[in-house]
Symmetry: C2
Subunit: 521 residues, 2 copies
């Protein structure tokens, strides 16, 4: 292979060119031996931005954050089955978020895999459960066409993970053919009958609610839904695990269902008709002995009137028109509060966010138990996007923030991050330093798996010393400032809200990453 | 459920009691919501030792190290499919090592999974490729019997991973029945015909070699193999990725094949018959353009005369007797060298290990490229076990050392650890601190993925700036002392061999963990 002879194109070269033509210009990578030709090919195409992660969970979580904010896929670059395995948890989250991702896994040469070398594993088998599309490329001649199809699959509504497995010989062999992008099919429109039915329910006088799915949570969707709600009295909800909500001062707020069954039940109390707009019927994260699994009233009806893959904006617009719902103005913004003072509480953190969140920030929320209150209490902050943990697999926060910052340079990313969860993918901090990403990480440091203490009570278990030890992050305490500095990121500790406000303001004004360990008493 | 009423036993309680009866008394855990009853049950049975990991890769790697040293399984405790996924890479390594592990994965309640809650994933599908046995328990009444079968499966030669998936309702429901341990079948003896054939080959006068598999690398195996070699002129080899070799002064050395094809080819040059004793035919980790995939000469014959699941000690003894190979004394120990002085080189590190390795140490080797020289150059160190990375999935070193230290208290564990690989599961340091484990970690800090630079050359790729960036761990440099201190472990940096010798001696003499960042110039 002579990379300077334009008539000889390797599979890897054809792949990179195909990706660029399709608009995929960012690659989050943790490469290994089998990806060396791909890595070498990246050199020849300066338009392909390459971001290194020290661990595959960082790579896939970053691709999740990037995809949510960019609305198009980043490529990953992972090494063999075990490298993919390390990235599966955050791919699971991305799958639940319908995030478009082009998941590239380099693997054994086609003729080497049958010899079962040490790193051979069931790469395809591990990829399929998180992927909408999975293919192992078999020849350099088809790699371009396969890649074009993968990008198309990832972008086809509602979006998803397309996994492209690349045997190393397919990458290094000559005969690569660059492919043109394939058109992405427009999401199908919802049938008129469904609009009519929805309008009928909303006019029936019986208590109704709209539950907006992951694809109907942008400001424009929420504005139409708010019109519908104002005209009919219907309540409007978002799912608890919403991938991206556009919100903040001057926008229409939307209430999320809660992680806690009892709270969701209270929100849905009295509802007779729950209309699903591109989402799924709510279900609790876990079953608990003797408790309901669904939050809606037992005598309510579920109406799935728009599927996740359909055109949800169009559905809402047509429904609003059918109801002749008048335009509505968003609620007048509350006066911005002052930052909180004194002791660190969940309410105080929300108040400070309302006061100090930068304009147009991206909030990545993996605050878990301490932060359950945050979303509901921060609508009066400056306009922002709110990205939540969608699949419950903790360890998405720091990586997702990393990818989001790559996707939208110039916007500040604020990560509200539980300490236990942060430790799964703490290596993301190094990538934030290396790429000088504008990320402010707030570690909510309570030094325990607080969520599990709640769960022990929920399931009726009575913990003793051993059990409590399994839920504690103390002994020894983690020193977040040292860990963070060790990864090359500036950090400081706050034990009061005054200190937090000072650090938060300073962090958001400077370029590059900063981490605040906020000590929860 | 009333845990004080002995007539009412939950599934979780029956499980823990069954494990204890079967001799499984150590559990490496990263629990979540679905495991709360199991965690609560641990309280009631003080004989079950429970060790918390901050990340699942730590848990599974620790179980790998424990199983290699204890010769019996530890239990893991993982949370749902994504938690299992985070542990798969080190389970892949354990699978290649035939390590016995009881891999417990808590999961959705049987009646909740069909509702597809956010954390539902293909738990069974992800587990099967690494497991010799996989089962989802369906009722509390069978959990004891299922667990007894799982332990038996993990211990049946050559050993492996038994994955027991526990829906949460199975754990919390009454009706648990404790089961007695099941007998582990003795490994089948090799047929006499194979002994005769092996003896015939070894007496034929044609150049022969024995390749000992993972189950034939204890000191007693190596002593018999050495007798056979001395009597017949056969060469004796171990695989490169050997899970556990007993070696050091006063023992018979065994040469490992190399990671590098050319070196393995040189070792096997001229061999006409390669006799596999419970191992597999050697194969390169990766294919490279135009290079062989097998190291043995093209005109050699492979004879697989003992399978991995057979009684290999018995095979070697009978073969030695058939050959009337006389007893042999191990080579006289070399005089212990002085610790190396001056610049940090691979040879200097090996010299210092020969001088200063504590008696009866356990060496965990994930030194990758810088440490390729170590094994071959350290046989004159004090007697020790040498544990290698078996499946090529990096990130096993720190966890494996953690589990080994739990398995053999009183023995010092020395981890020779490449920096890039250490970052995959760096959270293991916290568990070492929490459990006060006697582990000395030596970070070989070269601040790059050195192995990949070699691979770029191997595959004929010509790296430019972007490619080289993807292989560098600099910008920013990682500060290992800070990271390690942040996880609660003492640490210091060495830039000369004198300083390394001082720190290494001090670390090995004290109780608890210590990390040395050895800066590679």
């Amino acid at each position: 292979m002579n990379s300077l002879d334009p008539t000889i194109v390797s599979g890897a070269q054809a792949l990179v060119q195909t990706l660029l033509r399709a608009g995929v210009d960012t690659c989050f990578a943790n490469p290994g031996t089998s990806e060396m030709h791909f890595v070498a090919a990246l050199d020849q195409f300066a338009d392909m931005g390459c971001v290194l992660g020290l661990f595959e969970g960082v790579v896939t979580g970053a691709a999740d954050g990037y995809g949510r904010m960019a609305g198009k896929p980043a490529a990953t670059l992972l090494h063999c089955g075990p490298g993919l395995a390390n990235g599966l948890a955050n791919l699971h989250n991305a799958r639940r978020a319908h995030t478009p991702i082009l998941n590239i896994v380099g693997d054994q040469a086609t003729y080497h895999r049958p010899l079962d070398p040490p790193l051979a594993a069931d790469t395809e088998g591990w990829a399929r459960p998180v992927s909408v599309w999975t293919r192992t490329v078999t020849a350099s001649g088809s790699i371009g066409a396969d890649a074009a199809e993968a990008v198309q699959a990832s972008l086809t509504a509602p979006g998803g993970i397309a996994t492209l497995i690349l045997p190393s010989d397919v990458c290094w062999s000559a005969g690569g053919v660059v492919a043109d992008p394939l058109g992405v099919p427009a999401p199908p429109r919802v049938d008129e009958a469904a609009i009519t039915m929805a309008a009928g329910l909303l006019r029936s006088g019986e208590p109704c609610a709209l539950l907006l799915g992951p694809g109907a949570l942008r400001a424009a969707d929420l504005a139409i839904a708010a019109r519908i709600g104002a005209a009919t009295g219907a309540k409007i909800f978002a799912p608890y695990a919403a991938p991206r909500v556009e919100r903040g001062r001057g926008r229409f707020p939307v209430t999320r269902l809660s992680f806690l069954l009892e709270q969701s039940m209270a929100m849905l109390k009295g509802i007779k008709h729950l209309i699903l707009v591109g989402g799924t019927r709510p279900v609790t994260f876990f079953a608990h002995p003797g408790k309901p699994q669904r939050p809606e009233p037992a005598d309510s009806h579920i109406h799935a009137l728009a599927r996740p893959d359909q055109d949800l904006r169009d559905f809402l617009e047509r429904l609003g028109n059918a109801l002749e719902a008048p335009e509505a103005a968003p609620p007048a913004p509350a006066a911005a509060p002052q930052p909180a003072r004194g002791a660190v509480t969940s309410e105080a953190v929300a108040q400070t966010l309302n006061a100090l969140l930068p304009d147009d920030a991206v909030v990545v929320d993996e605050s878990v138990s301490f932060g359950r209150f945050f979303y509901g209490a921060t609508h009066s902050a400056a306009p922002h996007d709110w990205l939540a943990l969608t699949g419950g697999a903790i360890g998405d926060g720091l990586p997702m923030a990393t990818g989001a910052a790559v996707a939208v340079p110039g916007r500040r990313v604020v990560t509200l991050q539980a300490d236990g969860s942060a430790l799964y993918t703490v290596q993301a901090l190094w990538t934030q330093a290396r790429e000088s990403l504008d990320v402010t990480t707030v570690i909510l440091s309570n030094r325990k798996y607080a969520i599990l203490l709640g769960e022990l009570a929920n399931v009726g278990a009575h913990p003793g010393r051993t059990a409590l030890d399994m839920l504690s992050l103390g002994n020894p305490d983690l020193d977040w400032v040292k860990i963070t500095n060790g990864f090359g990121v500036e950090a400081a500790r706050a034990e009061t809200m005054e200190r937090f406000a000072t650090l938060f303001t300073q962090a958001n004004r400077q370029r590059g990453p900063f981490l605040i360990e906020l000590v929860i008493p």
